[in-house]
């Protein structure tokens, strides 16, 4: 026979009654519970911090390393452009002050050989942009090209200087 569901709960409510001192008993039980070991807690916190720091450091480090490499590549391109412009300027100055076609041709050949070396070094740099010795080789090559043209101009200017302070005795 069906019964009113509300009556069912009324009956259960009558059955379930809390003891009068249940609060006191509960608090006592709570106090008796063993304390957590704070040493392990400390270790757990330290381990979490360590992992967080390591992950953070790696992310930061890798990001900053990549950024630095990109910056170095950009700088190399800028420096290369500057050197090549200087080399061209000095080359024009050189061919303007000499009439020696054989000399000009030998220098043209030398610069071409140095440029081919530069392309090789650039290729190495693309494969390994972290290699400081390759970066140095790139700069050395550019400096060298500029310097040999400047040196020969200086040499020619000395040869073309009008004779002064002549000495004719040894």
């Amino acid at each position: 026979m069906k019964r009113d569901i509300r009556d069912l709960f009324k009956e259960e409510d009558e059955l379930k009654t809390l003891p009068e001192n249940h609060r006191t008993e509960f608090l006592d039980k709570l106090k008796k519970q063993p304390k957590k070991n704070t040493a392990f807690t400390w270790l757990k916190i330290a381990a979490v911090l360590l992992v967080a720091l390591t992950v953070g450091f790696n992310i930061f480090y890798n990001t900053s390393e990549v950024e630095e490499e990109l910056l170095i590549i950009a700088q190399i391109e800028a420096v290369e452009a500057e050197y090549l412009a200087d080399i061209e300027t000095e080359w024009q100055n050189f061919i303007a002050i000499t009439e020696d076609e054989v000399l000009v041709e030998r220098f043209r050949k030398k610069l071409k050989a140095l440029d081919e070396d530069y392309q090789d070094i650039s290729f190495q740099f693309k494969q390994d942009s972290n290699n400081v010795l390759v970066i140095e080789a790139l700069v050395d090559n550019l400096q060298n090209r500029l310097q040999i043209i400047k040196d020969i101009q200086k040499h020619i200017k000395i040869l073309n200087q009008k004779d002064e302070h002549n000495e004719n005795t040894i």
Partner: protein
């Protein structure tokens, strides 16, 4: 709990810091006979060559870590690839290692390199005695860390700033480095062919072996090399040598080459800067656009022959050296004791002899007492002669 704590701390410490540690990664030896030859090939290598104490050829590859992090050690070791073999009575050695370097260099150092524009501020050359030049070579042969070399060559810092930077660098307690070295020991009668690219070669003992050395980039430091069949070819690399006795020497864009003594050598050069401590017997130089600085001559050097074009030749002539000094060619400026020497108006100038520009005696007026000759054929050259400082 305490034990666990200690273990964790120990793990943390050992994961970050490693003390200096040297390992031999490869080692081999070969018995040779009178006909054995050796072919050594290096790229980006650091090589030390010694005289062998027995009749065997020895090779050893070592790697040394100083304060190097563990996580990078494995990569450094794996980058090493060295091969050697003895076949058909020829020993072959090839270093095919990949370049491996932990990123020690500050970004600032690298980017400063890009703007490094070396400009010599020297306006004069000073004479050096044989001993003084030997000391220059000893100093030049000392290994210099990359950072210190960069600081020394940089024009961005004053001398005081350079000194402080170098001191700071040397005093850093936790400098990290990896040193990879190929050590080779060669017996006396072994002919060597060495092909090296971007490598540092140090020949640490005097060698009389027949050597064919071809270098493209990098550096060569050597003690005395003596063999009339030697061929040494340096391209884009300086040679710092105690002495070269015999053979051929070819220098192409070899800046800052220092040779203590040169004897019985044919030297071909171009686009180079070469300083020679002492010219001994029978040296012949053919050159295009190099700068030469010759500090001393031996008493009986017999003859120095030079054939040059657009070269600059600077000679320090000591008091006791007697020699004739003859130049022929064209369009060459002569400076004696820093004054332009007008050879056309000098009593020695002989229009009949055509292209002879200078024909004089040094430290003597008597042809009979001359055993030595300096004979220079030069076009568009600059010649400077002095007992003391040469201004340029």
């Amino acid at each position: 709990m305490r034990t666990l704590f200690k273990i964790i701390i120990l793990m943390l410490i050992t994961s970050f810091q490693i003390q200096a540690q040297k390992e031999t990664l490869y080692s081999n030896s070969y018995q040779i006979d009178a006909n054995t030859t050796a072919l050594l090939e290096f790229k980006g290598s650091s090589v030390e060559i010694y005289k062998s104490l027995d009749d065997k050829f020895h090779i050893e590859y070592t790697i040394e870590f100083v304060n190097y992090p563990n996580r990078k050690k494995k990569a450094a070791i794996e980058s090493v690839k060295i091969e050697s073999d003895l076949s058909n009575n020829q020993i072959t050695v090839a270093d095919k290692s990949k370049f491996s370097m932990y990123r020690f260099y500050q970004f600032e150092t690298i980017s400063n390199i890009l703007y490094l524009r070396n400009k010599s501020t020297d306006t004069s050359y000073s004479p050096k005695s044989e001993d003084a030049f030997r000391n220059v070579i000893i100093e030049a042969q000392k290994p210099v860390p990359f950072y210190i070399r960069y600081i020394q060559n940089s024009n961005q810092y004053s001398e005081d700033e350079k000194k402080k930077s170098i001191e700071k660098y040397n005093n850093r307690k936790k400098r990290r480095k990896v040193i990879k070295t190929v050590k080779i020991k060669v017996p006396n009668n072994l002919s060597l062919t060495i092909n090296a690219k971007a490598s540092t070669i140090r020949i640490q003992d005097n060698l009389e072996n027949q050597i064919s050395l071809r270098v493209d980039g990098g550096k060569v430091y050597t003690q005395n090399l003596s063999n009339s069949n030697n061929i040494i070819k340096m391209k884009d690399a300086p040679l710092i040598a105690n002495s070269i006795n015999g053979g051929k020497l070819i220098l192409d864009n070899s800046k800052r080459t220092l040779i203590g003594e040169l004897k019985d050598v044919k030297l071909n050069s171009e686009f180079s800067l070469i300083e020679i401590g002492q010219i001994k017997n029978n040296v012949e130089i053919t050159d295009f656009t190099s700068k030469y600085l010759i500090h001393n001559f031996s008493n009986n050097f017999k003859e120095l022959i030079m054939n040059t074009e657009y070269s600059e030749m600077n000679f320090f002539i000591q008091e006791g050296i007697k020699s004739s000094f003859t130049t022929k060619g064209s369009a060459t400026k002569h400076y004696v004791e820093n004054k332009l020497f007008d050879y056309k108006n000098h009593k020695s100038y002989n229009k009949v002899k055509g292209d002879i520009m200078l024909d004089v005696f040094i430290n003597t007026s008597s042809e009979g007492s001359i055993d030595n000759k300096i004979s220079i054929t030069t076009h568009n050259g600059i010649i400077r002669i002095s007992k003391d400082i040469i201004k340029h």
